[in-house]
Symmetry: C2
Subunit: 166 residues, 2 copies
Amino acid sequence: MPDSDHAIAATFAPHDHQQCAHRALDEAAARLTEQGARLTPVRRRTLEILLESHRAMGAYEVLDRLAAEGFGRQPPVAYRALEFLVTHGLAHRLQRLNAFAACLHPGHDHHPAFLICRSCDKVAEAAAAPIRDALTAVAAQGGFRVERATIEALGLCATCAAEGVA
Amino acid sequence: MPDSDHAIAATFAPHDHQQCAHRALDEAAARLTEQGARLTPVRRRTLEILLESHRAMGAYEVLDRLAAEGFGRQPPVAYRALEFLVTHGLAHRLQRLNAFAACLHPGHDHHPAFLICRSCDKVAEAAAAPIRDALTAVAAQGGFRVERATIEALGLCATCAAEGVA
DNA sequence: GCGATGGCGTTACTTTATTACATTCAGGTT
DNA sequence: AACCTGAATGTAATAAAGTAACGCCATCGC
Ligand SMILES: [Zn+2]
Ligand SMILES: [Zn+2]
Ligand SMILES: [Zn+2]
Ligand SMILES: [Zn+2]
């Protein structure tokens, strides 16, 4: 992940989010073309909805939006689109929240660590490599081979801290 | 956590589980006495059920067991007992699995990392300190203050690997 | 054009979790 | 002993999250 030192701050700090979302959508489309997968209307719209903010959204929250815009109104509609996005590395699932967030760095580290601000609810992706290394090392001492890791932190972002949130 | 190098292997390898479970239950009772909390029949039985194996159990699986033994048969019965155990550090909740596992080291590291074997389904607790340190450091670079971390690894334990599971 | 495939929509259902409220029980007070 | 009180337990009802099964239609390779 390039700019990994700044990616976290960039998520939480005020920024030109129009551009931020637009770039992520473009990257996503590019990656799908590479992979020969189709970015259909529901899928595209689902990704756009996730990209509207840096928050994670529940499947039913996404579904309500899709239904309001003329797409299907049954759970599988949302779950399928979300699963597609996750499978293709364009979105992530947050276990703690039973929710989904758009990936802002498609193509880089597909299994990042997540930083969830308990005040503003925004979610940032952090480089997981050093953390996963530590985990892998601890596990290896017990003979355990790590294949997939879920790393999610709850805490307070710099912006909220600066605003005096305890 | 003492014996942290061996705690993982001890969970997955064959061992005197009677004693293993008994010791955990005794420690749990001792801790509750310290804290002035009550280990009521449902709570005790819930912990015993979790301690029967090193697997994580869903709330409804626990509930079925409790109901069969004459306790209430509505979800809150299980959820309340489980929440009590989690709150008092006697059990852990696994986010990936929507399930609960007894804590084998009550009083030591109350927020361990979890190693979940995809073959035998056993769950081991690993020292989280080095992992959390790496996470905290990465987050700090982005101005994020970590308060709680969820660290869960899916993989293969030494015992299953030795048995030739791919 | 035509069959195969993938995507989308539906209905129906399962699993997981919470809210609200009545009842019981241990502990201390009078 | 009678009484109060708060914690613990039970219930019913409902919400929230997720999946299975099936039909229709569009797109694509032929
Ligand atoms: Zn943005
Ligand atoms: Zn924040
Ligand atoms: Zn054991
Ligand atoms: Zn195993």
